[in-house]
Symmetry: C2
Subunit: 650 residues, 2 copies
């Protein structure tokens, strides 16, 4: 029994799993493993790799082609230099790691244990696997249609041809337990252990949770401001001027300050000054073989003009059409509601009372369906646009999804606020939207996947326990790997940020007419931390670390939203009875003043953005110091060479 | 005779002149010369320096302390590496010059003749002189109040103590003749020889002239559009909607395209990817000695908080007060004009007719005086703010002067347009302002200094010719140097850009009510090219080259102006009778539509700025290629070291 248990364990510390399709040809496997094992100097990846044993519950349907990948410490350290990892130096500054002066780094002890986190090791292995390139092979052995050419990434070709199903990093049971305890299992109010999250999941994840926490704290003053408004019934819809002004200043300042906090975090995590590696073409990219003008390597090329044509002649009109459709559906909703109201007014009975709710429910369902369908369409279109780089693909996808979601969620609110000018209805709609979307989200995002995962998990444990002594609850490695391989894949922080973006929109755009919005969002965010943390730890496969230096395109999205918030809040101020009372005789004067103040505020906002430095002074000094030192070192080196040259001449 | 002629000529090619005060102590001179001559390895500048001979017209009042500085070719090449010069490589790309692989650069021929332009050599010498640092001297010999500390730039201390009067590069008579011929002496329409201007004056100057040319060409379609408006009397002040729309699109696009042209120019001149050298504190900067947190060198420090207090508590209120004053003066002008008009209406005689012009004249004079006084005040205040870096000083000065000049020049036009809503008066005022300011400018900027210079020049030639054979019109070196030392110093492109900025304002803000504005500005720009070129060549001392990669803070200024232009043009459209006719019943509707369209245009403008890449694709590829190659070289080097390491272990 024990024997079969150990057969799954390799002779090294496994970090990453490669899963090939179960009927992969033997020659392809042999070739791939030898390429991975060949030392770097001979053009291989120089990594350790072993097939995963069949495990306890070896069944016929189990995929035998799971491979564990690891590496020696020396290999990991040289890989850390390859990927340009920044580590804390003995003088407390962050420097690019090099093997040559590894002993000058702070936490480096002889063999390097504890120097690289597991997430970093996994990231290094991923990088080394992805940059394992074909030499003179013309195709993958046994698969003549999986073409290769010198310099083509082997792993990406295997992925795009479907021979490699997935590549994922393994969880570390003990670390995970420790992390989840300090993260969400202590029921006391405390900050999230961002450094530990970063240690386990990498910088991209940690920045998301950092932003979530920051956003929650930033909302607290607004929530405190909002409670008395609601409690003492100040909300007679003409006292919201103070709130709107507060809104405008608030949303400008918090975004600027976030940039600074994010820079501080990224500096201490070593991603702020880390240079981006040369991005490889994404797996789905296709084109005619040609010479890349930058690298002079042979690789598929796709004319940019053709891509631009696809974007502007197909994608853009499609998005505009969808926006129009969304507006059209909204108008139908308002017509239906008007009709339901008139029916109820003519004949107020129980059934017509129920009828009043029907339009809202239908509209909510239609919005959800439209968002879902649109998401698929956007992914298809962006794929079809054939972007060469993953980052460009992501940007185009985010833009498409963002614009449509913004329209879908806020169009009805804008219509109520500015066309119908019904503030009571606006506050009701806002409350309904906020509360329902929160409940729905938490359910769809965490509890449903958790429940599904739990069922699978229990089945596996039961299966294993059948053949083992009861009481031993730890799963053997082979089962653990298979279990993780079956978990859903975490698709990145996209949906999490999108949710925060919409919440930010509700608060910054309209919270002056429903002051409790900030309170609701704070509550939502607190539970969001728990559910997101839980789902990261127990529902999804561990994701690879993403060495992000900031929240990327989302910073721009939030800043755009804050500009829209200034315009909206000014318009709401201009429409308030309080302000209207100042201009009893002339509406024109009122509008002109509102517009003038709005322009002033926008100008002030831009000046503020300009005046607040994006990186705090003490980090700026550290960065300048590093640059200065490298300049001085260069000068000294040159001077020495000059002296040597003179000596050799004399 | 010939003897005394040659006594002024040094044994090397003189490039830069240092002028010390005439009663400088001998020991200071000896010390300075020896520090300049000491080789670099021994901590000196390693340059050649000689005192200028007395020349033909040696008079008692002539300053004897003029020193000519030059350098050997090897020294200049190593200096080129120090300053990080980019040069064309043998494969056509631009690379940072290094002495080690100098033979791989395109124009390098053995001794390097023709490889570095004279302007580059002079820039290198300036850099080497400015980075000549004190070692263990505590003060300049003979001047116990001119304190030094290790690492302090000697030249800057001499300048700030007034011992060094000036440091300037010499003209090259023949090159100058060739340049001025191809620049402005051929009376035919042709592009300016930007490469030659850059070759002689450096990148900063060449970019200014490039921008001037670009701006002129960009105005041509607008001028062509404007002529028929004026000729066929279309200008009945309600047909300017088309013009305003054209304006809005035009000013967005030209600024974006300029960024691209400027990047192309800067790439070919090697300044685009050149790294900025560590900026030294400016000569006037003072503070308490302390340790610079970046360099760890002992140098004066001045707390940033104190500077911020000075900026926000003194400078900002002062600027606001000046703006208020400017508005106040404007109101007085309008009152005076109203009063003059009423006097003329009551009693229309010749004298009251003359009286009508008096307010305009007084206002014009007052504006000029205010601009002048304010400029001094701004310089004083910015000096007093005690900025550490020259760039930060310049930015604060530009901002102060820009805001006030904008107010002074445009406030009355805005008042006429939006408060008085008198389009006829607006077009008249615009025409008057444009034409008078052009005439005044050309006179003050070029002809007056030229005339003064010419007188001095002739006196010198006459003096020399008295003692020489007639017919030999070339001045000997000693006289030429003294003549150049007496020329006015060119104070940089500030005033030239400011003038263009105001012209850009007239055209983009209001040209729809006076379509001839663009024509006038085009004419002005054509003469401006000639007068600026002339003044650069014959009126001013040669300036040091400024390795600029773009037009800096002015790009931002022009972009801000174009945003204001969008707002102004939309307001003018909204006020036109044509548009008003569409909303006969409701002014509110008209304003709301105007504001909505304005917001749409602003959003469109920002999206456009975002979509048009700042650097053209082919330059991007070249930059990426360079980066890729340096990465590959690093990898290869590491790999080789790895192999050697393995070999040595085996």
């Amino acid at each position: 029994m024990q024997q079969s248990d150990d057969s799954g364990a390799p002779s090294f510390n496994p970090l990453v799993v490669l899963e090939l399709i179960s009927d992969t040809k033997e020659e392809a496997i042999t070739w791939l493993l030898s390429r991975i094992r060949t030392p770097q100097q001979a053009g291989g990846a120089g990594l350790l790799v072993e097939q995963l044993g069949p495990g306890v519950s070896a069944e016929h349907k189990d995929n035998p082609n799971l491979f564990l990948v690891g590496a020696s410490w020396e290999r990991l350290l040289s890989g850390a230099e390859d990927v340009g990892l920044f580590k804390e130096y003995s003088d407390g500054s962050m420097r690019g790691f090099t093997c040559a002066n590894k002993h000058n780094f702070k936490d480096f002890q002889g063999d390097g244990d504890g120097f690289l986190s597991m997430a970093e090791c996994q990231y290094i292995i991923k990088h080394e696997l992805e940059t394992l390139r074909a030499k003179d092979e013309t195709h993958v052995p046994g698969y003549s249609n999986a073409k290769l050419y010198p310099g083509k990434s082997i792993i990406r070709r295997l992925l795009s041809k479907g021979i490699l199903i997935q590549m994922f990093p393994l969880h570390h049971k003990e670390e995970l337990k420790r992390l989840s305890f300090s993260w969400y299992k202590k029921f006391k109010l405390s900050l999230q252990p961002l450094d530990e999250i970063r240690h386990y999941y990498g910088e991209g994840q940690a920045l998301y949770f950092g932003f979530l926490e920051y956003f929650t704290f930033a909302l607290v003053p607004m929530a405190l401001f909002g409670v008395p408004y609601y409690m003492f019934d100040w909300e007679d819809y003409d006292k919201y001027v103070a709130f709107a002004v507060f809104n405008v200043v608030w949303c400008t300042i918090i975004l600027e300050l976030w940039k600074r906090s994010s820079a501080t975090l990224a500096y201490h995590w070593g991603t702020l000054s880390r240079k981006k590696a040369f991005e490889e073409p994404r797996p789905g990219f296709h084109g005619v073989l040609g010479y890349n003008p930058v690298t002079d390597r042979e690789e598929p090329l796709y004319p940019n003009a053709k891509r631009q044509l696809r974007i502007y002649l197909v994608s853009l009109p499609f998005v505009l059409l969808c926006l129009y459709l969304s507006l059209y559906v909204m108008m139908i909703y308002f017509q239906m509601e008007g009709w339901a109201l008139s029916v109820h007014d003519q004949d107020p009975s129980f059934w017509t009372g129920v009828l009043l709710y029907i339009p809202s429910i239908i509209y909510a369902v239609v919005i959800e369906v439209m968002n879902l369908v649109y998401r698929y369409a956007a992914e298809f279109l962006t794929e079809w646009e054939n972007h060469r780089l993953e980052s460009s693909y992501q940007n185009h996808l985010v833009l498409k999804v963002l614009v449509f979601n913004f329209f879908n969620c806020f169009a009805s609110l804008f219509y109520i606020a500015f066309v119908m000018q019904d503030m009571v209805l606006l506050s009701q709609s806002l409350a309904t939207l906020l509360i329902t979307s929160q409940i729905l989200n938490q359910f769809m995002e965490a509890f449903l996947p958790y429940w599904l995962q739990r069922r699978r998990n229990k089945k596996m444990i039961r299966k294993v326990q059948k053949r083992r002594t009861p009481g031993d609850k730890e799963l053997p490695l082979a089962e653990q790997v298979r279990l993780e391989a079956d978990m859903s894949t975490y698709l990145g922080t996209f949906d999490d940020y999108l949710e925060l973006f919409l919440l930010f929109g509700y608060v910054s755009l309209f919270s002056c007419v429903y002051p409790l919005a900030a309170v609701l969002v704070v509550l939502n965010n607190v539970t969001e931390v728990y559910s997101d943390a839980f789902k990261m730890c127990h529902v999804f496969k561990r994701p690879f670390a993403d060495p992000a230096a900031n929240i990327g395109v989302w910073q721009l999205a939030f800043e755009t939203m804050s500009v829209i918030a200034v315009v909206t809040n000014c318009a709401l101020i201009g429409m308030s009875p309080q302000v209207k009372a100042y201009f009893p005789e002339s509406e024109t004067q009122l509008i002109l003043w509102t517009v003038a103040i709005e322009h002033g505020l926008l100008a002030f906002k831009f000046i503020l953005t300009f005046l607040i430095p994006d990186v705090p002074k003490h980090i700026q000094i550290k960065l300048a110091r590093l640059e200065f030192e490298s300049l001085e070192a260069l000068k000294k080196k040159k001077m020495l060479e000059g002296t040597e040259f003179r000596k050799s001449v004399q």
